[in-house]
């Protein structure tokens, strides 16, 4: 059994389902032509439709539909060629029409699946229940004035995809892996930028606990969690809270809660006096959304290679480990970077360099794969210098750091600093002579069976040659001389 929590009364299993709200990448809103750019001045991206002025009518934005279908295809999900928009009715100041247009009974995308990867190298399929399109609401700003609430409708009407998972998730790790994988797929598809800080990806986390073999117990929904780390933390603290409730002989109440990352707890959202009855009904302003199979097929044919396929290819074609392949495909740009480095070169070595020194430098300097500290082409040329034995691996690290620092080409750095590898056996012989002469005691120990000392001689020789000796030749000569 995997993840489990120990309580006073025994072992508990955690059951998690996620509802992810992903903002659709589109220049215009779901039902109006208003713009969607993040961070604009309040109420500057609002049409009369978004503000629900009298007589205004929604018209579906085809781009948003296309994005939802692409996402559905990317999740290997069923595309529903006929779907419908419904009104979800409730009053709130940042919901201008008094209803949100959503898809209740007939979503555009049905069942699909996401495969997640776990730290022990295993994979697990998490079911996707559905994906539907809906409008975002505006924003109420309660902190701008002592007695007034301000309303910003820039976000009102922006297209969201709500992606609902099955309750297949069983641990914080799986929850985190699910969000990361989903985000990765969305970014590959270009259907959501996945930016959790700006709120373009938010998760509602449904958590319950149960003992082995039981039916599901009551769940709580933790609203609007906005980072992968918080999703994982929220699952854990909420599960522990529920175990505590059950074990103290009480019942977990079905409710919506908020995760407070500062205090590391979940707390109930202020409960409304009356339970919401959303009075869903088909929006009479919109006709059913009908997709032509040919159009869907064309979208499918135009999908990019997605993370799972790319990973399989990296393992198969490049001989990478599953772990390295996973790391490299997480972001499309990283995979692209790797492939430029690996082209016509030793792919495993390329992977090691990208995930090793290159990532380290990028993280250290706070750079991104889109703005890398060293270009893929330059890193490739560094690998070429190793391949043709101009430099050895150790010197390569020094050259790499110089590349990061100066932006110069690796060959130029090698020339400037005189780092070219020594392959002249005479020079190596001379260095070996000196080392053996200076360490006769160790030579005797080695000859009497202390094999480990061979490394010492290699190190000393390289040191004497300022690291530029060809390692293979150094080894060969030392073996011959000590043999």
């Amino acid at each position: 059994m995997g993840y489990a929590l120990e309580g006073r009364t025994g072992t508990w299993e955690v059951v998690v389902g996620l509802e992810v709200h992903a903002q659709v990448v589109s220049k215009a809103k779901l039902f109006s032509g208003a713009a969607t750019a993040f961070g604009a001045e309040p109420n500057t991206q609002v049409s009369y439709v978004d503000a629900a002025f009298p007589g205004m009518l929604p018209v579906i934005n085809k781009v948003c539909v296309e994005q939802a279908v692409k996402t559905g295809l990317g999740l290997n999900a069923q595309i529903n060629n006929v779907s419908r928009f419904d009104r979800k009715n409730y009053f709130y100041a940042d919901l201008p029409a008094g209803y949100q247009i959503s898809q209740f009974e007939h979503p555009i995308v049905g069942k699909g699946e996401i495969e997640i990867e776990l730290s022990d190298g295993s994979t697990k399929a998490i079911g996707v229940t559905r994906l539907h399109l809906e409008q975002d609401a505006g924003k109420s700003l309660h902190d701008q004035h002592p007695t007034k609430t301000y309303i910003d409708l820039n976000r009102a009407g922006v297209a969201l995809m709500e992606i609902v998972s099955e309750p297949d998730i069983r641990s914080p790790e799986e929850a985190g892996a699910y969000v990361r994988k989903l985000r990765s797929i969305l970014r590959y598809l270009g259907t959501c930028d996945g930016n959790m800080e700006e709120g373009s990806l938010r998760a509602d986390v449904n958590v319950s606990v149960r003992k082995a073999g039981e039916e599901y117990r009551t769940r709580c929904e933790i609203k609007n969690v906005n980072s992968v780390r918080f999703v994982m933390q929220a699952v854990e603290v909420e599960a522990l809270r529920q175990i505590d409730v059950w074990e103290s002989g009480e019942e977990v109440r079905q409710e919506t809660r908020l995760f407070d990352p500062n205090r590391g707890v979940t707390r109930p959202m202020r409960s409304k006096e009356d339970a919401h009855d959303y009075r869903y009904f088909p929006d009479p302003d919109l006709l059913p959304l009908v997709l032509e199979q040919g159009w869907v097929d064309a979208l499918k044919a135009g999908l990019p290679e997605l993370p799972d396929a790319k990973k399989a290819r990296f393992i198969g074609d490049y001989g990478l480990s599953a772990y390295d392949a996973s790391v490299l495909v997480a972001e499309q740009a990283t995979a692209w970077f790797f492939e430029v480095v690996a082209k016509g070169r030793d792919a495993k070595q390329a992977a090691n360099w990208v995930t090793g020194d290159f990532f380290a430098a990028m993280n250290r300097l706070g750079r991104t794969i889109e703005d890398p500290p060293v270009s893929a082409e330059a890193l490739g040329r560094l690998l070429d210098l190793m391949a043709d034995k101009t430099i050895n691996g150790k010197i390569a690290k020094e050259v790499f750091e110089a590349m990061v620092e100066t932006g110069k080409d690796p060959a130029a750095i090698v020339d400037e600093k005189g780092l070219r590898q020594v392959t002249d056996t005479g020079a190596i012989d001379a260095a070996v002579d000196k080392i053996l002469a200076a360490n006769q005691d160790k030579v005797a120990e080695y000859k009497s069976g202390k094999d480990k000392l061979f490394g010492f001689f290699v190190g000393q020789t390289m040191k004497a040659m300022a690291g530029k000796g060809n390692p293979a030749l150094v080894n060969e000569i030392l073996k011959r001389r000590l043999g």
């Binding site: 503000a51 007589g55 018209v59 029409a97 009075r279």
Partner: protein, 495 residues
């Protein structure tokens, strides 16, 4: 001269303007003068755009002088106050929207302006188009220009909800008007006021910029004094509008030309379910007369059945309030219109909506909220939608056998102000013959066909297949010719 001008039909005015017998400005001023005289009593207009109308008329005159042939150049019209008009206060007959000036022009009114029409003002109406008498208007009732022969003192209602539009056209305060018909709101007032009223096919006229009552039932359409005039107006009003997702991308035929088509050989259905026990004898007699006229014109009369007719009214009074309860949620005092400040957000909503909406609107919002509520949705809303589908099927099946249906428009002539106000159900029964065409979305017209024993006009209704308004106009014109309806309302310009 003034009296003559206001009595002209649109077709006659078109010719007169073209032949320079009078100017558009003269035509507009004649109507504006008539409005000044009669509107204080009739209350048909909520606002009159004197300066704008004169300006539009002068522009029409200049265009006419240059040989411009746009069909509605200089034609003065009344616009139901449900159509948003750019920069002109639009109230929907409600206190809620007293301070609302739209920053946009509805598609239908924009189409009329494109064709050169002159807008005289905004017409009174039942609040948010909810009513059959114009008595729910926040701005007071409209007086029907027609009088009972033996009781001239009784103030009669013009019908509703487009009561102001109908009264204005009947009293010669406009040559034509726009209306909207959700359950009969064009055809019933047309019948009460001796006018032709047309509810085209759903999707024929854009709803964009028309304040919504019940989206799936709302149909913009024209009023005029002749069938041909309504055809002229509808030709301008209709057309595909990408801003309305339910607008049909269907070519608009020449409706005016269709008025001249013969009805010879057409099969006219007479639905037996429209014959109710309580129907006044004179309405039954008029219906029989209509049948005889069409037969005489060469049409074949066929008995048909629309078996679900009896459920029409019940279905309508579930679907319409359900949609309305949601459509009217936007009137919350936050962004436009009336606001009553409150202790908190909820209090603001409650005060704003309690103050801003009249009793009939509040009643329908409550009904609509109820029928959509958890636990009631299936029994009411969902069932109503199923019955609606059966009603549509009734029409489909009937139209496999016949080309048009002939029925009375309303179960009575105009009633007096205050009558039927005690019981909303009694009021709702006014719509019994008109509602099915809204539920099915098929086109229907009311044509004045005769007078009752009080000398009040009665209309006959012609219903045809979706997007076959041409047959509807042809049959309506045949009835009009046969009826030779020439009675005039008591209150009218120049009388």
């Amino acid at each position: 001269m003034t009296q003559v001008l206001t009595d002209l039909t649109i077709a006659e005015a078109q010719a007169g303007l073209r032949d320079k017998r009078f100017s558009a400005e003269e035509l507009a001023l004649a109507h504006l003068h008539a409005i000044e005289t009669l509107n204080p009593r009739l209350n048909a207009y909520l606002s009159v755009g004197h300066a704008q109308a004169v300006e539009q008329a002068r522009a029409a005159d200049r265009a006419l002088a240059e040989g411009d042939t746009r069909p509605l150049l200089g034609i003065p019209l009344a616009i139901k106050d449900l159509f948003c008009t750019l920069g002109v206060r639009t109230t929907a007959g409600s206190k809620m929207l007293m301070p609302f000036i739209p920053p946009y022009e509805s598609t239908v009114t924009a189409n009329l302006l494109r064709d050169g029409a002159v807008f005289l003002g905004k017409a009174n109406m039942d609040e948010f188009a909810m009513g059959s008498s114009n008595m729910t208007s926040h701005f007071g009732p409209v007086e029907n220009p027609w009088k009972r022969r033996r009781d001239e003192s009784a103030v009669l209602v013009p019908g509703g909800s487009s009561g102001g539009s109908a009264a204005a056209v009947a009293a010669r305060l406009a040559m034509g008007a726009t209306g909207t018909d959700t359950g009969g709101s064009i055809r019933q007032p047309a019948s009460f006021c001796g006018l032709v009223g047309v509810k085209p096919t759903y999707g024929r006229c854009s709803r964009w910029g028309v304040i919504a009552f019940a989206s799936s039932l709302d149909h913009p359409g024209p009023f005029a004094r002749t069938v041909r005039d309504t055809a002229i107006l509808l030709n301008s009003m209709a057309g595909h509008d990408p801003k309305d997702s339910t607008s049909a991308d269907v070519a608009v035929p020449d409706f005016e030309k269709a008025c001249e088509r013969s009805v010879k050989g057409l099969r006219i259905g007479v639905p037996r379910e429209y014959r109710s026990d309580g129907m006044p004898g004179e309405i039954e007699a008029l219906w029989q007369q209509g049948i005889a006229w069409l037969k005489a014109a060469g049409a074949e009369i066929v008995d048909v059945s629309l078996p679900h007719t009896k459920y029409g009214l019940g279905t309508y009074y579930i679907v319409a309030p359900a949609e309305a309860s949601s459509n009217l949620a936007r009137y919350d005092g936050v962004r436009f219109g009336r606001r009553e400040n409150g202790e908190d957000l909820r209090d603001l909503y409650e005060r704003t909506r309690a103050e801003g909406f009249g009793p009939e609107v509040r009643r329908r919002i409550m009904i609509g909220t109820y029928v959509l509520s958890a636990g009631y949705y299936d029994a009411f809303y969902l069932r109503a939608q199923k019955v609606r589908a059966l009603i549509l099927r009734d029409f489909d099946e009937a139209f496999q056998r016949v080309d048009a249906l002939l029925t009375p428009t309303a179960p009575s002539a105009a009633f007096a102000l205050g009558e039927k106000m005690d019981d909303p159900i009694k009021m709702y029964l006014n719509d019994v013959f008109t509602v099915p065409a809204n539920l099915a979305g098929v086109p229907a017209a009311s044509v004045p066909a005769g007078l009752d024993s009080n000398g009040l006009p009665l209309g006959l209704q012609v219903i045809t297949r979706s997007f076959d308004e041409e047959t509807m106009f042809a049959v309506s014109a045949a009835l009009e010719r046969a009826a030779g309806f020439s009675a005039l309302p008591t209150l009218r310009a120049g009388a």
